[in-house]
């Protein structure tokens, strides 16, 4: 390999191509991805408000669009990624307050984030469907 471009430039840090995914690293990038997905959902919030401001016909049309399977799946994805970002964000705020840095606590809080996101999404949709 001597003299080749591989040696000249070397692999770029943090070598994620050869690194085994772990809960910590997966949740780290998940917080970023969920933030982006929630940003798209925020655009939906503005469109929903604009539809409501436009009048009952436009509002009914917006709800009609959301009633399709694709719209429902989209809402479910937005709900889950929002809760993932919320729970992951609260975990970050706790870290910012310098709590929960030993490895066992980091893994425990990570699984709490995953479980809480699933439970909150399920609960929100069950309550929404029932009411």
């Amino acid at each position: 390999m001597r003299g080749s471009t591989q040696v000249k430039y070397g692999p770029k840090s943090p070598n994620i191509q050869i690194y085994r995914p772990q809960l910590t690293s997966v949740l780290s990038i998940a917080n970023r991805i969920s933030g982006v997905v929630t940003s798209v959902g925020a655009v939906g919030l503005v469109l929903w408000l604009l539809a409501a401001a436009a009048g009952p016909d436009t509002y009914a049309f917006a709800l009609w669009l959301l009633s399709f399977l694709l719209g429902q799946i989209g809402l479910l994805i937005f709900t889950f990624f929002f809760f993932l970002h919320l729970c992951g964000g609260i975990r970050h705020l706790i870290w910012d307050a310098v709590y929960g840095f030993d490895l066992s606590t980091i893994y425990a809080s990570g699984w709490v984030v995953v479980a809480a996101s699933v439970v909150l999404t399920g609960a929100a949709w069950i309550v929404f469907a029932v009411s």
């Binding site: 933030g35 655009v43 408000l49 970050h92």
Partner: protein
């Protein structure tokens, strides 16, 4: 360059790295995040409570002073936080000449969305 060497290390550091603007960005991201916890939970609870409501009920809910205030605060905090978060992603992944245009478009987009949402809420309040 000779003049620069006369500056103390502390003063030189003032315009560099996290001493320049990183800490302020980090802090604003946290403040908006804390604000968004009650604001987004209020929004989700309200939406769930109005799941079976018709148009007039949703409008009546948005026209309540508390709802109007919460919704506008949500829009401001949400798109401020979004702009701060997306800025980091652009900083991390865009290294070409497209970086500055991307940042400008992203920030103007967030500003426009917050303004459009606020406009929609105020229009509902004023028109009824």
């Amino acid at each position: 360059m000779t003049r620069r060497r006369k500056l103390s290390p502390f003063v030189r550091s003032q315009a560099r790295g996290s001493a320049r603007e990183g800490a302020g960005h980090w802090w604003r991201e946290r403040v908006t995040a804390v604000a968004l916890i009650p604001l987004t939970l209020w929004f989700f609870a309200s939406i769930i409570a109005h799941s079976g409501s018709d148009y007039s009920a949703v409008i009546a809910w948005l026209r309540m002073p508390s709802s109007t205030l919460m919704m506008v605060l949500l829009l401001i905090a949400l798109f401020y936080h979004t702009a701060l978060g997306l800025q980091i992603i652009i900083d991390d992944y865009v290294h070409s000449a497209r970086k500055v245009p991307a940042l400008i478009i992203m920030r103007l987009g967030c500003l426009a969305l917050a303004a459009a949402g606020t406009f929609a809420v105020l229009r509902i309040v004023i028109r009824g």
